[in-house]
């Protein structure tokens, strides 16, 4: 395996005594790897991504990103300091910012931000949407913008949480092709969470099944 980007050891987490838990998760993702986690709704896939992103704190276990320990049951490096991207199903575009401003949000202090944003607009074929606002564009276009925004800070690890589940089939096929190409060009490691086997097989090289909080 190439250089380790993500390393998870013996991870446990539960929201409450009665809620479904994440149990004994171990995972390694190397530079440029494309891994998907497949499983039914509510099996803990999204919780795992939130733990990796630093949006939740694990009860037990350890998460290392780029060889830095970012979470254990005592310490938590906040999400903004982990240099990872996350794209979610609901896109979460900032409604008061234009497409261009959304893409630049994470690189406000970068003097080359205009150049980076323009490259991403070209790469994701959304150049014509530059000055539009999220409510003025379609669901598929919003997903492309969300992806561009996550890629702008040039993370070497990107997570996608059911990014295409709200889109129709034809649109999905086009996006799979375009986005796979973008991933190849940018050579960042990918962790995709989905319940769609077809999507997992097209977008990633390795699939892991998850059920009731455990890897099978």
């Amino acid at each position: 395996m190439s250089n380790l980007i993500l390393e998870i050891k013996d991870l446990y987490h539960s929201y409450s005594e009665h809620a479904l838990s994440i149990e004994n998760i171990n995972l390694e993702i190397g530079s440029g790897d494309r891994v998907s986690i497949l499983g039914p709704s509510g099996c803990g896939k999204s919780t795992l991504l939130r733990l990796i992103a630093g949006l939740e704190k694990p009860d037990q276990g350890e998460i290392r990103i780029n060889d830095i320990k970012v979470s254990d049951n005592k310490n938590l490096i906040p999400p903004e300091k982990r240099n990872i991207g996350l794209v979610v199903q609901e896109k979460a575009l900032f409604p008061h910012l234009s497409v261009f401003e959304n893409i630049c949000f994470g690189i406000k202090k970068n003097k080359d931000k205009d150049l980076i944003a323009s490259e991403l607009l070209n790469l994701l074929k959304i150049n014509n949407l530059k000055n539009k606002y999220p409510h003025e564009i379609s669901g598929g276009e919003q997903q492309r913008v969300a992806l561009a925004r996550s890629l702008a800070p040039k993370p070497n690890f990107l997570m996608l949480d059911e990014p295409f589940s709200a889109l129709d089939e034809d649109l999905k096929e086009t996006l799979y092709k375009d986005i796979s190409q973008v991933f190849s060009d940018m050579s960042c490691a990918i962790l995709l969470v989905t319940h769609d086997r077809n999507e997992a097989e097209i977008m990633t090289n390795k699939q892991i099944r998850m059920e009731e909080g455990k890897f099978l």
């Binding site: 939130r50 992103a53 630093g54 949006l55 906040p78 999400p79 903004e80 982990r82 990872i84 991207g85 996350l86 979610v88 609901e90 979460a92 900032f94 409604p95 008061h96 949000f105 994470g106 925004r149 996550s150 800070p153």
Partner: protein, 535 residues
């Protein structure tokens, strides 16, 4: 202090400041009891309790009848003017009870405008009065009922709208007539909501000072004021205030627990909104009068009287004093509005940013001020400022007692709930996934607040500033007690003129208060219009 600790500690720090004056008032219960207590107990305490009780019972009965019947009429029937009545029924909320009381005496005193007009029309002698004297507890009951019924109307209307058409149709099929559907089915179903509205009315009634003072009705608030300013006994005034505070506290708890619990509605997939029956002839006229009379008594009549007074003094009211009290009022209300909105924003952000069930429960206590009578708050605030001057600022050349600081702080405590409700509901519409995205893109804490939340919440922030401003403009007892020497606001000017029976001069500041009080009504009426069910 790191930023995590700051966001976690903020709600507690604000809570300490907000509850300090109340705790000071309550602490008087375990202090010494002066000899004035035996005087109060022997001669006036019974009057305070009985008058307050009669007032509360009378007002409760009237607001329940007016609030529920008008709400039922506009939600169940279609008649001429219904679309206007739907929102116009809340207009009396813009008139503080003390202003309605002033106009009532101007109209219904022996030589009041209404009696003069009646004598002129009926060609009666000057000694004859058609309308009875209103300067008594019954007049006060009418005044409170016709300014406060919108609290019950608003919750009843919203609850009636959520009742399903099929439920009412089933009742009709089972033999109930329209009136029976109202009082046997619809009314019991909205009981929890109505109780919430009624508690607000009771708290407002018990808190009032201006109206009962004008009608010379002896209640707890006038008793506290007289004990303090008549007997110069602040300790006894605080002990009286504690009793009132504990009473209000009971109503506050009932009101909070009635929120969202046990409101029986049919908001499920099979819900079909009620369809209004179209009324014609005498039935339409009855419905029209049911809705028109409360608006006429609670809004149109006092406005006409105020305009007549203003007209009589021509433009004389537009003098230096009016301008300076308007300026004072607007600047105080603007400062309070901005502080309240800022605090509500920071506290709601801290709860969202570092969620904790404990902090969330605690922070709801921050809204307690709206239930506390302004007079009690003022009593507690004066003592707090005296302590601060004596213990913290002694030796320095700064004195906060009698300054605007105490007044603004009292306003902030009293009106924070209004700002909070607006910002809280604004935050409910901002998806938490935006926060996650913002954090992952390197923007958290202050940066997330300023670049994501503030732009998305600007309407809520503006609304909260306006709501607070309109409430501060009306506040009388706290202003009267805490204002610096010779500092007048519109409410104080109105009170002073009215207490000197210079009603014509009182008109201008009173009209200004009503106009500013219309601001939240505009917002509410907008909400009411947009809440109409679609068939």
């Amino acid at each position: 202090m790191n930023r995590l600790t700051f966001w976690r500690l903020l709600p507690f720090a604000v809570l300490v400041v907000f509850t300090a004056p109340l705790l000071i008032v309550l602490s008087s219960l375990i202090g010494d009891y002066s000899e004035n207590w035996s005087h109060l107990f022997q001669f006036v305490l019974f009057d305070y309790v009985s008058s307050s009780l009669v007032l509360v019972i009378g007002v409760s009965i009237l607001v329940l009848i007016i609030g529920t019947v008008t709400a039922w009429t506009v939600t169940s029937y279609n008649f001429v003017g219904k679309n206007i009545f739907e929102w116009a029924l809340i207009l009396p909320l813009s008139i503080p009870p003390y202003i309605l009381a002033y106009t009532f005496t101007g109209l219904f005193d022996h030589y009041g405008d209404a009696n003069n007009l009646a004598r002129l029309l009926l060609n009666l002698q000057n000694s004859t009065a058609i309308f009875p004297n209103v300067r008594n507890i019954y007049g006060a009951i009418i005044v409170f009922s016709f300014t406060l019924y919108p609290y019950v109307y608003l919750v009843s209307r919203s609850a009636f709208i959520n009742q399903s058409k099929s439920m009412k149709e089933s009742a009709r099929m089972l033999g109930l007539n329209q009136f029976q559907v109202f009082y046997k089915l619809a009314l019991p179903l909205i009981r929890p909501a109505v109780i919430g509205g009624l508690m607000l009315v009771i708290m407002e009634t018990l808190s009032d000072f201006g109206a009962v003072d004008h009608f010379a009705v002896q209640t707890f608030t006038t008793g506290i004021f007289r004990t303090w300013y008549g007997l110069y006994d602040i300790q006894t005034a605080m002990q009286l205030a504690s009793l009132l505070l504990l009473t209000v506290g009971v109503f506050y708890i009932v009101e909070r627990s009635s929120r969202g619990s046990g409101i029986y509605t049919s908001n499920n997939s099979t819900f079909s909104p009620s369809k209004e029956d179209s009324l014609v002839g005498y039935k339409a006229l009855t419905a029209f009068l049911i809705c028109f009379i409360p608006i006429f008594i609670g809004f149109i009549l006092p406005i006409i009287e105020l305009i007549l007074w203003a007209y009589e003094v021509n433009l004389e009211f537009f003098n230096q004093k009016f301008i300076s009290s308007s300026f004072n009022t607007l600047s105080l209300s603007l400062v309070t509005g901005m502080i309240c909105a800022g605090l509500a924003l920071l506290i709601n952000f801290s709860i969202r940013y570092k969620p904790s069930a404990f902090v969330q429960r605690f922070s709801s206590l921050l809204s307690i001020g709206y239930a506390v009578p302004g007079l009690i708050l003022a009593v507690g605030m004066v003592q707090l400022l005296v302590y601060i001057d004596a213990l913290v600022l002694s030796g320095l050349d700064i004195v906060v007692t009698g300054s605007l600081i105490g007044l603004v702080l009292a306003y902030v405590i009293k009106t924070y709930a209004l700002a909070n409700s607006s910002i809280e509901s604004g935050y409910e519409r901002v998806s938490s996934s935006l926060d996650d995205s913002s954090k992952l893109l390197g923007s958290s804490g202050w940066s997330m607040l300023s670049s994501i939340h503030v732009p998305l919440l600007k309407t809520s922030i503006l609304t909260s500033v306006l709501l607070v401003m309109s409430d501060v403009v009306k506040e009388l007892p706290a202003t009267l007690i805490l204002r610096p020497f010779n500092f007048e606001t519109l409410a104080v000017s109105t009170y002073i003129y009215a207490s000197e029976e210079r009603m014509l001069q009182a008109a201008a500041p009173a009209i200004a208060i009503v106009l500013i009080g219309l601001i939240p009504i505009v917002f509410l009426s907008k909400m009411i219009r947009s809440s109409r069910p679609t068939h």
